[in-house]
C-alpha cells in the first residue's frame, strides 16, 4: 500500500472513465467535448505512464493487489497489477501512440453524427483500457481479461459502420478467429492451475521447476496458439487484413499500439517458460518466419493501400515472433516499439491520403500525390524508409538485431529473413511510388479536391515521423557502439532469469558488419529499383498467373471456408435435419406412438361378446392349471 506505484490503477482508470462518459453521454455531449474527453483521458494515462516509467527506471517495481477477483477452493486470483520494466515500456507505447491516434481521430471522424462520434471515442477508450489491463495484469487471468477485451473492442470497431453487412462479417471473423486463440490461452491457464494452483506471474515463474517437461511444452505451445490468434500468425492471421473494414485510425490502433502486440507481450512476459521449452521456441521461430514470408508475398500484389499495410503488419509480426523464437526477447520488444512508431505513421498517413481522395483506397487510382500533400508525403516516405530498414532509421536497428539473432540460430532463418526484408522494401516502395509519384490517375473531381489534411492529422504524423527516425537509438547494436543498447539494459531484469537456459550464439562483430553491410546494400538496390519502376509505370493491370495467386492471398480464406466453415455449417444442418428431428425426437415421439398403437390393438380384445370373454377366462384358467401342476417344479 505504501508504494507509490499503487497509484498505477489510474492508468487504466482514465480511459475507463472516458469510455463511460462518452458512452453514456454520446447523445448529449457536443462533439468537441467528446473529442477532448476521449483524447484527454488517454493523455492523462500517458502522463501517469511516463511518471511510472521513471519510477521503474529508478528501480521501483511493484505488484499492486486491489481485490479478490475469483477465489474458489484452492484457487485465488487477485485483481492485481504488476508494474515492472516490461509493462511500463508497453504502457508508454500504448498510451503515447494511442494518444496521437485519438488526436488524429478527432479530425478524421469529424463527419460522423455526434452520436456515432461519441460511440467511436467510447470504443477507442475501451480499447486502450483493455490493452492496459492486458499489459498491467499481474496474473494470466487479468491478462486474459484484457486479451478478450481487445478482441471485443476490435469487433466493435471493425464493425463500427454497422450498416454494411460485409464489415460486420469481418468483425465477426476477427472475433471468432481471436476466440480460437483465446481458447488455447484459456486451456494453458487451466493447465497452470492444475499443476501450480496459481496463475500469478510471481508464483508461476518461481515454481517452473515443479512443472514437468511435457507440462512446459504443452503450456507454452497453447499460449503460443493464443498468441497466433491475437498477433495474426499462421494459421490464424486471416482476420487482420479483413479488419481493415474499420475506420483507418482504428487500424492504426490495432496494428501499432495495441492488440497485435499482445502476443509478443505475452511470450516476452512468460520468457522463462519459453526458455525452458526449446521445442516451442523452434516452432515459434518457424511459424514466425513462415508468416513473415507468406504475408510479404501477398503484400506484393495488393492494390488496396490499407491491405498492403495490413499484410506488412502480419509480416513484421512474423519478424517479432522470429526474434522470440531465437530467444532474442529484447529484439522482439524493440521491434514492437519501433514498429508501433512507423506502422502508426504509415496507417495514419494512409488515412490522410484516403481522406484527401474522398474515401478511395485503390492505389491504382492515385499517383503523384506528393505535389498535393507535402507533409503526408514526407512523413509517409520516412515511414517506408523505416520499415524497409534503411540505416539510421528506427526499423534498421530492430530488424538488424532480429536478423543477427536469427543468424546465430541458423543461417537458413537469416537467409529467409533477409529475403523477406527485401520483399518488404519492394512492396513498400511499390506502394509509395504508386501513390505519391508519377502522375495522378483519379478522376478530375478527386484531383480538384486533393488537399493537405488539417493540423490534427498532420501533427501526429510529424511526431510519429520523428519517433520513427530516432526511436531506434535506444537500441544501438553492440558492434556499432559499446554499451549503447540502453533498452537491453533497461529490460535486463525481466529476461535475466531465462538467460542461463538459452543457448548462446556469439556472432563476432566482424560477421555482423558483413551481414549488415550485405543486407543494407541489397535493400537499397531493391528500394531504388522499386521506386524508379513504379514511378514510371505503375502496376495497374489485373494480376495473372502466379501474381493472381498472390493477389488472392494464396486462396487461404477460400481454403478455410471450404475446409472448416462450410463443413461445420453443413454438419449443423445435418444434425438438425437428419438426426435431431427424425432420430432423437423420432424415438421420443415413437415411444408415445407405440403406447397409443398398443392400446388400440389391446382394445380389440374387448369385443363385448360374452362368449369370447368366457372363452378367454377358461383358457386363462387352463393356462394357470397347466403352469401350476405341470410346469412348476
Amino acid at each position: 500500500m505504501n508504494n507509490v506505484l499503487h497509484l498505477a490503477y489510474l492508468v487504466p482508470l482514465f480511459p475507463l472513465l472516458g469510455f463511460l462518459i462518452n458512452g453514456l453521454g454520446r447523445k448529449s455531449l457536443p462533439k468537441s467535448l467528446i473529442g477532448i474527453i476521449g483524447s484527454g483521458t488517454v493523455l492523462a494515462s500517458f502522463v501517469v505512464s511516463v511518471w511510472i516509467f521513471f519510477q521503474v527506471k529508478g528501480g521501483n517495481t511493484y505488484v499492486a493487489n486491489y481485490f479478490d477477483f475469483i477465489s474458489a477452493g484452492k484457487l485465488s486470483i487477485p485483481f492485481a497489477f504488476q508494474i515492472d520494466q516490461l509493462s511500463s515500456l508497453f504502457l508508454l507505447i500504448i498510451t503515447g501512440v494511442g494518444f496521437l491516434i485519438h488526436v488524429y481521430s478527432t479530425s478524421y471522424m469529424h463527419e460522423e453524427k455526434p452520436e456515432h462520434y461519441g460511440r467511436y471515442f467510447a470504443y477507442l477508450n475501451l480499447f486502450v483500457f483493455s490493452m492496459l489491463l492486458l499489459v498491467m495484469g499481474a496474473n494470466y487471468v487479468v491478462m486474459f481479461i484484457g486479451w478478450e477485451g481487445v478482441g471485443l473492442c476490435s469487433y466493435l470497431l471493425i464493425g463500427f459502420w454497422f450498416k454494411k453487412t460485409e464489415y460486420n462479417k469481418a468483425a465477426n471473423k476477427a472475433f471468432i478467429m481471436n476466440r480460437i486463440g483465446d481458447l488455447a490461452f484459456l486451456i494453458a491457464i487451466f493447465w497452470l492451475v492444475w499443476r501450480l494452483d496459481s496463475v500469478s506471474y510471481g508464483d508461476v515463474f518461481a515454481n517452473v521447476s515443479k512443472l514437468s517437461n511435457t507440462d512446459i511444452i504443452a503450456i507454452t505451445l497453447l499460449l503460443f496458439v493464443g498468441a497466433t490468434g491475437k498477433s495474426a500468425q499462421i494459421p490464424l492471421y486471416t482476420w487482420l487484413p479483413d479488419a481493415m473494414a474499420g475506420p483507418t485510425p482504428v487500424s492504426a490502433l490495432i496494428h501499432a499500439a495495441t492488440m497485435v502486440t499482445a502476443g509478443i507481450y505475452m511470450i516476452a512476459r512468460s520468457n522463462i517458460l519459453y526458455s525452458l521449452a526449446p521445442l516451442t521456441l523452434n516452432v515459434i521461430a518457424i511459424i514466425g518466419i513462415a508468416t513473415a514470408l507468406l504475408a510479404a508475398s501477398i503484400a506484393l500484389k495488393q492494390n488496396d493501400i490499407k491491405k498492403v499495410l495490413a499484410y506488412s503488419t502480419v509480416s513484421q509480426l512474423g519478424y517479432m515472433f522470429l526474434a522470440l523464437g531465437t530467444g532474442s526477447y529484447v529484439a522482439a520488444v524493440f521491434h514492437v516499439m519501433t514498429h508501433a512508431f512507423f506502422k502508426a505513421l504509415l496507417f495514419l498517413g494512409s488515412g490522410s491520403v484516403i481522406h484527401a481522395m474522398g474515401g478511395e483506397q485503390d492505389i491504382r487510382k492515385m499517383g503523384g500525390l506528393s505535389k498535393y500533400m507535402k507533409i503526408t508525403n514526407i512523413t509517409f516516405l520516412i515511414g517506408c524508409l523505416a520499415i524497409a530498414g534503411i540505416p539510421g532509421l528506427s526499423g534498421f536497428f530492430s530488424k538488424d538485431e532480429i536478423l543477427a539473432g536469427a543468424f546465430g540460430k541458423s543461417p537458413v532463418l537469416y537467409a529467409v529473413g533477409l529475403f523477406t526484408a527485401l520483399l518488404t522494401a519492394f512492396y513498400m516502395f511499390r506502394l509509395y511510388a504508386t501513390t505519391f509519384r508519377g502522375s495522378f490517375r483519379g478522376t478530375h473531381e478527386q484531383e480538384h479536391h486533393l488537399h493537405e489534411s488539417p493540423a490534427a492529422i498532420t501533427i501526429p504524423l510529424i511526431i510519429l515521423a520523428i519517433l520513427s527516425v530516432i526511436g531506434g537509438y535506444v537500441g544501438v547494436p553492440e558492434f556499432l557502439a559499446h554499451g549503447a543498447h540502453s533498452l537491453n539494459t533497461f529490460l535486463q531484469p525481466i529476461f535475466a532469469a531465462s538467460q542461463p537456459h538459452l543457448p548462446v550464439h556469439e556472432v563476432s562483430h566482424s560477421t555482423e558488419w558483413v551481414l549488415t553491410g550485405v543486407s543494407t546494400a541489397l535493400i537499397l538496390i531493391v528500394v531504388i529499383f522499386a521506386w524508379t519502376r513504379f514511378s514510371k509505370k505503375p502496376d495497374t493491370e489485373e494480376a495473372t498467373g502466379f501474381g493472381k495467386v498472390l493477389a488472392n492471398k494464396w486462396y487461404v480464406d477460400e481454403l478455410y471456408d471450404a475446409a472448416v466453415v462450410r463443413p461445420l455449417h453443413k454438419l449443423g444442418g445435418f444434425l438438425d435435419n437428419m438426426l435431431e428431428k427424425p432420430v432423437i425426437d423420432g424415438v421420443v415421439n415413437g415411444v408415445g406412438k407405440l403406447v397409443n398403437y398398443g392400446s388400440r390393438q389391446l382394445r380389440l380384445l374387448q369385443s363385448g361378446q360374452v362368449g369370447s370373454y368366457v372363452l378367454l377366462m377358461v383358457l386363462g384358467m387352463l393356462v394357470i392349471f397347466v403352469v401350476q401342476f405341470f410346469l412348476r417344479k
Binding site: Q606, S607, V610, G611, V614
Partner: protein, 108 residues
C-alpha cells in the same frame, strides 16, 4: 365307494357346464350350465368332506367345513338365480330375445 368316482363325475358335470356356457347363446341355457358347474363343485366338496370324515381316528368335526361351503354356495347360487333370472326377464322385455350375442352394447 372310492373318491375317484365322485371326482370323475364332478369333472364331467363341470366340463358339460363349461362347454355349455361356451357354445350356447341362449341366456337361460348358459345360466343352467353355470348352475351345473356350481353343483359340480358342490358335489366335489361334499365328497371330499365325507372322505375326510371317514378316515380312521379323525376328529368328530373333520370335513364339516367342506359341507359348510356347500351351504354357502347354495345360498349364493339361489340369490344369483333370482337376480340372474330377473336380468334375463328384463332383457327379454327390452330386446325380445335371450341371445347373449345381442348384449354387446358396452363395446361401443
Amino acid at each position: 365307494m372310492p373318491i375317484n368316482y365322485y371326482i370323475f363325475l364332478a369333472i364331467a358335470l363341470f366340463c358339460i357346464g363349461v362347454v355349455g356356457v361356451l357354445t350356447r347363446r341362449n341366456a337361460i341355457i348358459i345360466f343352467m350350465c353355470v348352475e351345473l358347474m356350481l353343483n359340480a363343485v358342490n358335489l366335489l366338496l361334499v365328497a371330499f368332506s365325507k372322505m375326510h370324515h371317514a378316515v380312521p381316528g379323525a376328529a368328530a368335526n373333520a370335513g364339516t367345513d367342506g359341507q359348510l361351503f356347500v351351504f354357502f354356495i347354495m345360498v349364493v347360487a339361489a340369490a344369483e338365480v333370482s337376480v340372474g333370472l330377473a336380468i334375463i326377464v328384463m332383457m327379454y322385455r327390452n330386446i325380445h330375445s335371450v341371445d347373449v350375442n345381442f348384449l354387446n352394447r358396452l363395446k361401443h
